[in-house]
Amino acid sequence: MPLTGLPLAVFVFTTTPARKKVSLCARACNSPHIHRHCTASTAAIFAMAPTKEELERRRIVGVEEERVSNVTSTDFPGHYPGEDHTWNLEEFRKKLKIQIHKANDLDYEFDLIGVDASIANAFRRILISEVPTLAIETVFVHNNTSIVQDEVLAQRLGLVPLRGDKKGFQHLRWLKKNPDEPAVEATDFNTIVMGLKVACTRNHATPATETDPEKLYFNSSVYARDIKFQPQGRQSDWFSGAGEIRPVNPDILLAKMRPGQEIDIEMHCVLGIGQDHAKFSPVATASYRLLPSIKIKQPITGEDAEKFINCFPKGVAEIQTDKKTGQKKAVIVNPRKDTVSREVLRHEELKGKVELGRIRDHFIFSIESTGMYHSDELFLQAVQILKKKCVDFHEKLLES
């Protein structure tokens, strides 16, 4: 019996009353305080659990031919007469489900089931713009005679994702950059120094017929791997050996050179967040989509079935043959693979036989890290950052 969300101590459940009764009573009482003030007897009339069909209807965001329907969440107290919907942590704990589908270091996919879009969106937004990472912030060009202009090269360098010992990063602090304050001194706590010093020279060992610049010259291409960490102070303890600060992808091409050209650059890296500049964003993408739902209202058989399954990406729908009658029938196998293209709604012969939608509280999260942290660590950090916001404001409000 779907009685979730109702305080059982107050309400007396008998049988499931008809929906009509409730609207009558709601009009008579007309108080949004029904949960608190109604006596047990009137509550019994109010305490009508929504039917299974009704719950199912609320769970689906409809995708119709020209519009989406049933978009907003309605799980608030006072929205449906006789239903509670008050925030309940234990209820939430019971309903929340997380299922991991893909767990590579840098590429994570999991389902987050049982949260509202506002919560899932907060996590997504924090992942993109509020989890701090290290990136090159200032570039000191001592010499650059390559054809890449200083400012262009500086911008390219800024976007190179960096990594290093994760424990070591815990020692790092923000380099304050508030213009109102006097500039904070760069220390080993807030600044990482990197150097890039490459000169292109001719390789005299190549035959005169050689045309490949990679063989003709040394250092004709400058790659991210040429960026070298120059530890300051205790940084050599924090980031040593394999934990050295270095570009995540050593093969990023930064510039091309010819003999006689030279690049000599010092770079300062600081912690920052994606809100300030995209180079600080720890993720390549962090996104979610709602799980598609495809409902077949009337059996789709024969030739229509063939047509039907061709409306979806491979693996979404299949044709099943009835063993007794030998009739062919279309069935949904894996709605997860669907893109909700609405192609199926364009066919006259399938009209009214199928309903497309997405499940409101089933988020398929995908987090692709740029490499400083693993994707699962990033998600946990994002949750911690949201929590910290709450704790901080909570504290401030209690103080005032």
Binding site: A135, T138, V139, L157, G158, P259, K279
Partner: protein, 80 residues
């Protein structure tokens, strides 16, 4: 950052980065007149020293386009 006066790259001043040997303290007008300047040949890439009144021409290959050398001063950029 204290910017010192422009120091043209010269044949004699083999100073590395961070300002040459000249004109550090000198204000606007009294930078000593250079007698010779270093340029780079646009064709062969060799360094060419030219004195006042000389032909603008590479001494190695005779090419008539010469490039100015890059400043020896450090330049700071924001990686944004």
């Amino acid at each position: 950052m204290q910017r010192d006066a422009y120091v043209p790259p010269t044949a004699g001043g083999g100073a590395a980065r961070g300002g040459g040997g000249y004109g550090g303290g000198g204000g606007g007008g009294d930078i000593p007149r250079q007698v010779s300047m270093k340029y780079l040949c646009a064709d062969c890439g060799k360094s060419v020293t030219i004195n006042k009144g000389d032909m603008i021409r590479c001494k190695e290959c005779g090419f008539r386009i010469l490039y100015k050398e890059r400043t020896k001063r450090m330049v700071q950029f924001e990686a944004r």
